[in-house]
């Protein structure tokens, strides 16, 4: 294939994503330095107000006062995203190892059932938990029927239910990349380790984990990034009362009508995710060099 036809073929994809995804990012970056239009949208003059708003609030006399509201939302979002990633890793690693140890037919079947939820509407998957966790939901009904509790437990609308929803949504993202690295491990390495009287723990620590690490890192990125910006789990299972960044951004473009602040928050989480990815690719070659 000639150079010209290659460029011709690749042009639509590059143009579509460049024009409708990359350029909008830069427009959002520009918007984050503008002043909010109370009717939605932005207006002159240029200002850093949107970023100052992360930490400060303007008082009546126009002086800046430290306000922790937004920074707390950001910290809480990062904490929940990190917790989601950690739980997914702890659950995903043994599951991936179990699948790798099965024969080909069962492996395919198990992978199918782990992959399928990825393609099912997140809105619906999240809604299912409302059916289970709400006051008149399945869990409370069972608990009351068993006589464990007299009054319904408040299972919904707290950090726990948000975390549950996030793990439920993103667990497949962790299992699959770990599986694909574990699958490539040469079984002779593991046999050799056991032949040398290594314990299970030692084999895991010295053989499996070092080889699984790239997959675990890929999975961690795939879970962390969407969990940080998630909207549905906090909105439906958190009740929208305790905000996370995702719902805070969405609000700026709907009820609060503060587009510059919403744009600044989007730029901030994109920056955090880019940073995580850069750190990952920066550490990966080092590891290879050591091996």
């Amino acid at each position: 294939m000639g150079r010209q036809s290659t460029l011709l073929l690749v042009a639509p994809a590059v143009l579509a994503i460049g024009v409708f995804m990359l350029i909008p990012m830069f427009i959002a970056l520009a918007y984050s330095f503008m002043t909010a239009d109370p009717y939605g949208g932005v207006q002159a003059p240029l200002t850093f107000d949107a970023y100052i708003q992360f930490l400060y609030q303007r008082d009546f006399d126009d002086s800046l006062v430290f306000a922790s509201d937004y920074i707390l939302i950001i910290v809480r979002s990062i904490y929940l995203a990190v917790a989601t990633t950690a739980i997914c890793l702890v659950l995903g690693l043994p599951v991936a190892w179990y699948i790798v140890c099965q024969d080909a037919e069962r492996r395919r079947l198990l992978l199918f059932f782990i992959t399928l939820p990825f393609w099912i509407n997140t809105l619906i998957r999240t809604y299912c938990w409302i059916l289970i966790l709400r006051d008149e939901g399945l869990a409370n009904k069972l608990l009351r029927a068993l006589g464990v509790v007299a009054d319904p437990l408040p299972l919904l609308y707290n950090d726990g239910s948000i975390l549950l929803g996030l793990v439920y949504t993103f667990l497949p993202f962790m299992v699959l990349p770990i599986y694909s690295t574990l699958e490539r491990i040469d079984p002779r390495l593991i046999e050799a380790a056991y032949d040398l009287y290594a314990s299970r723990v030692a084999v895991f620590r010295r053989v499996i984990w070092p080889l699984a690490k790239p997959g675990a890192l890929a999975g961690a990125t795939l879970v962390f990034a969407p969990a940080l910006g998630s909207f549905l789990a906090p909105d439906l299972l958190g009740g929208g009362k305790k905000l996370l960044i995702g719902s805070l951004i969405q609000m700026q473009f709907t009820s609060s009508r503060n587009w510059p602040f919403g744009a600044a928050l989007s730029i901030a989480i994109t920056a955090v995710i880019l940073l995580v990815m850069v750190l990952r690719s920066w550490r990966a070659p080092q590891r290879e060099a050591r091996a």
């Binding site: 460029l7 994809a13 659950l91 619906i124 910006g229 969405q250």
Partner: protein, 265 residues
């Protein structure tokens, strides 16, 4: 009772995997069971009934939203699959040198950037340009985030195929177009089908981006269903959710079957 030592068998991992699968599927099962419950009180079982499915089929708003979703998904799927096919051919068979990783990075963007960021940047973009075309805006937005999902299976298939058959055709003086029509395209067809189905499902299921970009007349089905959910748990929500769930499962299972056919060939 003692078995010979087998490192492939770790005690506890089997039950854990079963527990995880139950965790993944039990909530969906709960939804489906409730959707067929005759009672208006969702949690009290009063017998099997299809009445809620009939009710949503007769709801004009739901039908309108479903129509919008279908139009958007079909248009976005066709556009994204064509763009992805061309892009995959260029990436696997073309002569990109230093631009390759750049193209790869750009194509991966819709997968890495959080949905909420894509949603608001798209909204900002359309409003900066003053574009208020309802469905067309949504079709454009959907096409963009569907491209990687259509591209991945096609690119994987091209990589698997290798260039041997095309080389053979070239040795027999077939033109590039004829090579594509007679060799590459027929062999790629299952992967193109799988990619198109994945794009279709992703478009049909999208909620967040659609919610931010859609305007009054262009509500999609998930956006409408979200509105219903916010008002509370009702049998109608359960029924429409079950329908959306069934559509995803049927389409994805058929896409994965196409993938298996690929291996058999």
């Amino acid at each position: 009772m003692s078995r010979p030592f087998d490192w492939r068998h770790t005690p506890g991992f089997g039950p854990l995997t079963v527990a995880i699968l139950v965790f993944l599927y039990a909530p969906l099962l709960v939804l489906v069971v409730y959707a067929f419950n005759a009672s208006r009180m969702v949690t009290i079982w009063q017998g099997f009934s299809l009445q809620w499915f009939v009710a949503i089929a007769q709801n004009g708003d739901i039908r309108g939203a479903a129509e919008n979703s279908l139009i958007i998904a079909v248009c976005a799927t066709i556009a994204a699959t064509l763009i992805a096919l061309a892009g995959a051919l260029a990436l696997e068979r073309g002569t990109l040198t230093f631009g390759r990783s750049l193209v790869h990075g750009m194509v991966a963007m819709p997968l890495v950037v959080p949905e909420i960021v894509v949603a608001i940047t798209t909204l900002v973009f359309f409003s900066a340009l003053g574009m208020h075309h309802g469905l067309l805006n949504l079709i454009i937005a959907h096409t963009v985030f569907c491209i990687p999902f259509a591209l991945l299976p096609i690119q994987a298939r091209l990589k698997d195929m290798g260039g041997m058959l095309e080389e053979a055709g070239r040795d027999l003086y077939a033109s590039e177009w004829k090579l594509f029509r007679r060799i590459t395209l027929p062999l790629l067809m299952p992967a193109i089908g799988a990619g198109a189905i994945m794009a279709f499902v992703i478009s049909l299921d999208d909620f967040l981006i659609s919610m931010m970009v859609s305007s009054a007349g262009s509500t999609t089905l998930p956006v409408y269903v979200y509105g219903m959910m916010r008002l509370g748990v009702t049998p109608e929500v359960n029924a429409i959710s079950t329908v959306l769930l069934a559509i995803s499962v049927v389409f994805v299972a058929s896409a994965l079957l196409l993938g298996r056919k690929r291996r058999a060939n």
